[in-house]
């Protein structure tokens, strides 16, 4: 039983990390149909930025805040310089642009920061909590609750604010949204800013566990993307569910089957789910009327 609990905690820890990255994908996707592959780089900027600033003597909370501001600025620049000029291009073209942006950001980060791995001190100490014979790090709980809080805030923003409703309208039908006077370009810009902030917050929360480096974004984006697809892309709750499920699959695969095949096990299950439910677990069916 302690083993089962330990695998569960391991899965939840890793899953919460994937979930946080996956949530970042949903907003940009729902407002513009673009899967932003530079999302992982926002995560990296959050972690690396905080580390570099705090190493330079800035107190940790201020360093974290500044790192989020930097990520938002980068997100806005990405939108202004790369996405906006190509706004009439197809979603696929825009996705390819984000891949290019991701490579550029990684290269710049390698030069601007450094190429070493870094860590941040855990927010509530490094001493693991004992639960039923298994252990869990306080930081894992922080990551889990952080993911939950972000989804809640996102939900409130979407349902309760004018900007959020404009985002939903843009997501539903861009042409119709324009016709009723919504500046869809501004909505997309806003979604880039918020996604960057979510990514950076995620990066700051997970760095005490996963460590960070200039190229940490690639793998996190890949896993986060898989999680978002599994949960149903565009749905924040689905992103969380997909992330946790992916983490649990990996942990139980490694624990009960074989650690050599844990990634293969996870991706097999994802393939099976997407085969049965192409929209993901929480995805809505899109019906095209002709």
């Amino acid at each position: 039983m302690p083993e089962f609990l330990q695998f569960l905690f391991s899965g939840l820890t890793v899953g919460a990390i994937y979930a946080l990255v996956a949530v970042g994908f949903t907003l940009i996707y729902s407002s513009s149909d673009v899967i932003n592959f530079a999302q992982g780089e926002f995560v990296m900027i959050g972690g690396m930025g905080t580390y570099v600033l705090s190493a330079a003597g800035v107190p940790l909370p201020i360093a974290a805040l500044l790192a989020i501001v930097i990520a938002v600025a980068v997100g806005l620049l990405l939108h202004r310089l790369a996405i906006e000029p190509a706004r009439d291009a197809s979603a696929v073209t825009l996705i390819i642009i984000t891949i290019g942006a991701s490579i550029l950001l990684r290269g710049v980060a390698g030069v601007a920061f450094d190429k070493n791995f870094h860590s941040l001190p855990p927010f509530l100490g490094a001493e693991p909590w004992l639960v039923g014979g298994a252990t869990i790090l306080p930081q894992s709980v922080i990551v889990l609750s952080g993911a939950g809080i972000i989804v809640l805030l996102l939900w409130l923003f979407m349902r309760r604010t004018l900007y959020g409703k404009a985002t939903l309208a843009t997501a539903a039908n861009r042409m119709a949204a324009r016709l009723v006077g919504i500046d869809t370009s501004r909505v997309v810009m806003l979604s880039f800013a918020i996604s960057a902030a979510i990514g950076a917050i995620g990066g700051i929360l997970v760095t005490p566990i996963v460590l960070t480096s200039y190229d940490v974004g690639t793998l996190l984006a890949l896993k986060g993307f898989a999680a978002a697809m599994l949960g149903g892309i565009g749905n924040p709750v689905g992103a969380i569910a997909g992330g946790l499920l992916l983490g649990l699959l990996e942990a139980f695969g490694a624990g009960y089957v074989s650690s050599s095949y844990k990634d293969a096990i996870a991706f097999l299950v994802i393939l099976a789910v997407l085969f049965a439910l192409p929209q993901g677990l929480f995805g809505r069916n899109t019906i095209e009327r002709v």
């Binding site: 083993e3 330990q6 695998f7 905690f9 391991s10 899965g11 820890t13 890793v14 990390i17 390698g110 190429k115 070493n116 791995f117 870094h118 860590s119 490094a126 693991p128 252990t135 790090l137 997970v206 566990i209 996963v210 460590l211 480096s213 190229d215 940490v216 793998l219 990996e250 942990a251 139980f252 490694a254 624990g255 650690s259 050599s260 844990k262 990634d263």
Partner: protein, 384 residues
């Protein structure tokens, strides 16, 4: 009259330039390097390049090799074996270098070894794996310790502590796999029994699931983690999180101060690893033959770069010095003569150990080159 005088001055100036240009061509000893300065293996290539630049400049300031200055041609392969091969060809065919100091990783080194053989040019490489130097090839030499030696050193230490039943948790990257395989070849020789094996992907962020299985395995007396990069740091953290009490051993691929920082000093307490004397330079007894070399290198590197020394830059120091010594003994940069002299290297005291090469051993290090270190209070100490 004025015009002829001017003409003479011009002619004299011109001939002077020609002489100087010809002198330059004759005088340079060209050393070519292909290193992984950027990319995932930058923690190897970056200190290697800095060391090479630093010491080549120092040698030139003292008058060069046999009175000829060293001219370096350095290319960055970014950790990509294809790039490494392309750059090595360029060094040989276009830059026409006299010798190669090339290959930061095993993957980038293997194609360069083949090129050095084909073009008959002396090569000293910096790869970790045993196949980068055994069996000995005519033109290929290497300075870093092999993973097989690391295993032998660990098993040796286990035997003196009367521990025989171990579990392995290896990185699923080339380094981790190679070291794991090398360890498995010598278990019988040292009477070590491997009770359980786990692996992790190089970029995994949590290894508690694998370690839980090791913890649940009865009879495990020690755990060995062949791997490099940040993986072993996370293994170490998770190891302490689960409260496993068996001694934890790492390979020689984590020999940087950064490892302790990433693993956190509390979690790394008591962890053992085989490493070069360089990491404990100032802690070596005064009688140690390597002490002077490693302390000098450490202080020079740290004062010039402002970064903590790593064993990887030390391998470049050893390679450059072995090459320079060989060129001095050969009294030229002639490729065949230099190769023969490198092979005759005996009693060379480097940062990696004492090098005694033979025609069948182009590494020339024995187990005394490794020190068993233990991490105590966030610092390396010599294990007792």
């Amino acid at each position: 009259m004025a015009s002829t005088a001017l003409g003479r001055v011009a002619a004299a100036g011109l001939s002077l330039t020609i002489v100087m240009a010809a002198g330059d061509v004759l005088a340079d000893v060209k050393i070519g390097a292909v290193l992984s300065v950027t990319g995932p293996a930058s923690f190897l290539g970056d200190p290697e390049k800095k060391t090479l630049d630093m010491y080549a400049a120092a040698i030139n300031a003292k008058g060069g090799i046999n009175g000829q200055p060293i001219k370096l041609v350095i290319y960055d392969d970014g950790g990509d074996p294809n790039q490494a091969r392309t750059f090595a060809i360029r060094l040989i065919e276009e830059d026409k270098v006299d010798a190669l100091l090339a290959g930061s990783t095993t993957a980038t080194t293997m194609p360069i070894i083949a090129l050095a053989e084909e073009n008959q040019i002396p090569l000293i490489n910096f790869a970790g794996a045993v196949q980068a130097v055994f069996p000995a090839k005519k033109w290929n030499f290497k300075t870093p310790h092999t993973d097989l030696m690391a295993c032998e050193k660990i098993f040796d230490d286990l035997k003196t502590r009367n521990l025989a039943k171990v579990a392995l948790i290896s990185g699923a990257d080339a380094f981790g796999k190679s070291m794991r395989d090398q360890c498995m070849t010598i278990t019988a020789k040292y009477g070590i029994e491997v009770l359980h094996e786990e692996t992790y992907q190089p970029r995994d962020s949590d290894m508690t699931a694998q370690l839980t299985n090791i913890k649940g395995k009865a009879g495990v007396q020690a755990v060995i983690n062949p791997g490099f990069g940040q993986g072993p740091a996370i293994v170490t953290r998770n190891y302490r999180q689960l409260g496993i009490t068996a001694p934890l051993y790492h390979g020689h691929g984590i020999g940087t101060k950064q490892f302790i920082e990433l693993a956190t000093p509390a979690a790394a307490e008591g962890v053992r690893l085989p490493a070069a004397a360089l990491l404990v330079a100032e802690k070596l007894p005064a009688s140690d033959s390597q002490r002077k070399v490693v302390v000098d290198y450490k202080q020079t590197y740290e004062s010039k770069t402002g970064q903590p020394v790593s064993t990887f830059g030390g391998h470049m120091y050893d390679g450059l010095m072995i090459l320079v010594d060989a060129m001095q003994r050969a009294k030229s940069a002639d490729k065949a003569k230099v190769r023969d002299e490198i092979e005759k290297t005996r009693g060379f005291i480097g940062t990696g150990g004492v090098v005694n090469m033979t025609p069948t051993d182009h590494l020339g290090l024995d187990l005394t080159a490794f020190r068993m270190l233990e991490i105590r209070n966030g610092d390396w100490t010599l294990a007792q």
